[in-house]
Symmetry: C2
Subunit: 204 residues, 2 copies
Amino acid sequence: MRVASGTRESNTRAPSAPEPSTRDRLVSATGRLLRQQGYAATGLNQVMSEANAPKGSMYFHFPGGKEELAAAAVDRFAARITANMTSLLARRNVADAISGFFDLYIEHFERTDFRDGCVVATVALDEAGTHELLADAASRALHTWVDLVADALESEGRPHAEAHDLATLVIAALEGAIVMAKGERSVEPFVAARNSLQRILADD
Amino acid sequence: MRVASGTRESNTRAPSAPEPSTRDRLVSATGRLLRQQGYAATGLNQVMSEANAPKGSMYFHFPGGKEELAAAAVDRFAARITANMTSLLARRNVADAISGFFDLYIEHFERTDFRDGCVVATVALDEAGTHELLADAASRALHTWVDLVADALESEGRPHAEAHDLATLVIAALEGAIVMAKGERSVEPFVAARNSLQRILADD
């Protein structure tokens, strides 16, 4: 399972699969650039060029411009993370599922030399205060992830409020570990946070 | 105690205190802008204007340009956070100190309408991959904070490795809660993560 790559999709697609649409390519390129460099540094010219998108297609598909495009990229990224988490939580207890999710990120960081962070995090820190569409997309993603983990913790018998608080801690730790791993250019913070969470989540 | 404001210093300084130097003003303005909008969006013209700094002073004080200035701002921000944490840890047990530190951030977010994030986080996500000076400053800050909390946990009797992992989780949760609070424009994730950590840290 892969943690939300973007570019690679086209490399692993079977030869018979349909070409991604211009809209798809715009959203993928935007998501990739947001993970790597944040909202402010991501220019529309760079997106158009990386998406190999014809001039004019951007405003045809996204009349709201850069913000609407970025919000679509946040939604797509969020859906992929949600699918990964759901799949892990369906097969394992919460402690092992979260640990496994952290492992996916560790592998991803190692494979990409710490290039890719989290679209939600870069958008939240750079722009949520001034761009309502983007803030809404980031907020939706974070709530979905917290609820997913909270439900799983409740189904393991944790009381509702405790499950919510602990799930929030798990998602905060994930976002913060991404900050630390990128800042230190090391997976060590990710490994340490994972070990600690594993201990806490396995605790009854 | 205040969590690393920047601007307000000049408003609360006693009339007899010396004026901050141009260098000081450049570093303060940069720190403030990095917290609010990240590295990419922070232009030198804006820094010069907010710092009320004479033309030419930037390269006199920071021959390395924007990156050197930003690294100085990260170091100053980190020192202030370290001082706040050290002071809390000296007076309370770790659970209450960390809870108190989260409370400072909650108050700060409420006072500033979620404007100010963490300099280390914005720098780590936007730029650590391509700017060595900045990555070093972010990494130094994160290591200092983890070590501070880990030492306090060890002095409460936690084994060395467990203390390190748990301290990493605390700092990750702090950075991630900032991401979530800014993304959701709500202190709720901060409150939830704080409650969860309080429970975990108070546990023997």
